[in-house]
Amino acid sequence: MVLADYIPLILLTLMAFGVVVVIISLAQFFGPKNPTPEKMMPYESGSNPIGEPHGMRFSVKFYMVAISFILFDLETIFVIPWAMSWQDSNALGHGFYSFSVMAIFLTILTIGLVYEWSQGGLEWD
């Protein structure tokens, strides 16, 4: 593909961006503007907000999910090109080699998943 083939994509991005800008400015233009302190207050079930949300502590599990995501997303990055080229390598007679390489890779990652599981990294309680 040459760069000119990407013109539709650039146009679509520009048009989507234009729609976003138009929608937001429409609301900004036509909507009433009479802010009051109560109206601008972040919602906290009607009472005054207690503390700052940005300093709020949250569960460390979210970090675990993020780290596991990076590991397994990398796995998919390796798996997709392999799956794509499977037919070619099989046609060349390298089917078993290709399969065993990926089998070893997947086994190592499955062991990683089992280890994380057994260590309680996937528990939400």
Binding site: M1, I7, P8, L9, L11, L12, M15, A16, F17, V20, I23, I24, L26, A27, Q28, F30, G31, P32, P35, P37, M40, M41, P42, Y43, E44, P49, E52, P53, H54, M56, F58, F62, V65, A66, S68, F69, F72, D73, E75, T76, V79, I80, A83, M84, S85, W86, N90, G95, F96, F99, M102, A103, L106, L109, T110, L113, W117, L122, W124, D125
Partner: protein, 382 residues
């Protein structure tokens, strides 16, 4: 000029004519009206168009006008810039992903021939293929779709963080954790499908699904990879944050999640983006697993069934009929899948958050790795 004009027409028709219309109509008919029927209510029926309520369809226009006339509130202490771009970051990917979705095969300026002995491949004799029915013919189409869909995670996380509200922050965290969890099994479940198709180009994928087993069973993705379809559908439901996975908007627990502090058209954009993402996932499922624009036994040069071939209405007329039938098939599949997602939303109760995470990491992920393994093993033996 033509290389700018034609894409603009295609974008206008596909994205703004079809997707936005379906998304906003589905908001109303699929979600509000159908939910009313399920819960034995009447649903929206007050907005009228020249005295006709039209099953409540005028409501989505009325809603839009009402949203525009509402005050646009950015809460005190929030980051105004991030608060404003977050709806855009959620909304734009839902539209840009449509660049690679094929609504119909290329248009052939000559005559199309289907070769039943060569996997029902269609060739264009005495002419060339013209791409009129999809915005782009991209070789890395599926990867592009995933990459773009993943951007909306940023939108949700930023919206949660920028709102300066505890509920928003929790909702943003929840939705980003949920979306990245299911993205893994979503991509891995496609490994087996990609091994069979050997291409990332969505239009090529659909072309391959025109093949038939024993001249009667269409070789759709759901036939060759049933487990992958199941996994992808579940992960897609979770990706678009539809019930039973709508934990980011768990009303009794965290009000409305990361859209708590949004009002006016920014709120409408968040909602619309969610529906557009639903339609997009439906289109991806239709293209990968349900044969896209393929209709069983209907080909560009006539009907092929059990080795028989006949062409109703003559070749020229049939080509146009087949084009309309195939676009209709694609649209029907998308609408059916969207309807199915809404049905699930109003039928199933909501999961708990730990159940969502357990399902994603302990059930869907091992199953998709096993599916890949088994597919590779079977393909190697064959």
């Amino acid at each position: 000029m033509a290389e700018v004009l034609i894409p603009i027409i295609k974008i206008s028709v596909i994205v703004f004519g079809f997707v936005m219309a379906v998304a906003s109509l589905m908001t109303l008919l699929g979600d509000r009206k159908q939910s009313a029927k399920i819960q034995n209510r009447i649903g929206p029926n007050q907005a009228k168009f020249f005295g006709f309520s039209l099953m409540g369809i005028p409501h989505f226009i009325a809603d839009g006008i009402k949203m525009i006339l509402k005050e646009n509130i950015t809460p005190a202490g929030s980051n105004k810039f991030l608060h404003t771009i977050a709806p855009g970051l959620v909304f734009m990917p839902a539209l840009i992903g449509w660049a690679v979705v094929p609504f119909m095969d290329f248009y052939c300026t000559g005559t199309v021939q289907t070769l039943p002995d060569q996997n029902y491949t269609e060739i264009c004799v005495g002419g060339e293929w013209k791409n009129y029915f999809s915005i782009m013919h991209m070789n890395s189409g599926l990867l592009f779709a995933f990459a773009i869909a993943a951007i909306s995670v940023y939108g949700a996380a930023i919206a949660g963080w920028a709102s300066n509200s505890k509920f928003s922050l929790l909702g943003g965290l929840r939705s980003s954790a949920q979306m990245i969890s299911y993205e893994v099994s979503m991509a891995l479940s496609l490994g087996g499908v990609l091994m069979i198709y050997g291409t990332l180009n969505l239009n090529e994928m659909v072309r391959m699904q025109g093949n038939m087993f024993g001249d009667w069973l269409p070789m759709w993705g759901i036939v060759v990879q049933p487990l992958a379809f199941f996994l992808f559908f579940l992960a897609g439901l979770a990706e678009t944050k539809r019930a039973p996975f709508d934990l980011p908007e768990d009303e009794p627990v965290i009000v409305a999640g990361y859209i708590t502090e949004y009002s006016s058209m920014k709120f409408a954009m968040m909602q619309l983006a969610e529906y557009a993402a639903t339609v997009f996932i439906a289109a991806l499922i239709a293209v990968i697993f349900l044969g896209g624009w393929q209709m069983p036994y209907v080909y560009a040069d006539g009907i092929h069934f059990l080795g028989n071939h006949w062409t109703p209405f003559g070749e020229e007329a049939w080509y146009w009929i087949s084009i309309f039938l195939r676009i209709g098939a694609m649209v029907f599949k998308i609408l059916f899948l969207v309807w199915l997602q809404f049905m699930m939303r109003w039928t199933l109760p909501r999961f708990r958050y730990d159940q969502v995470m357990t399902l994603g990491w302990k059930i869907l992920l091992p199953l998709s790795i096993a599916n890949l393994f088994v597919t590779a093993f079977i393909l190697m033996i064959l």
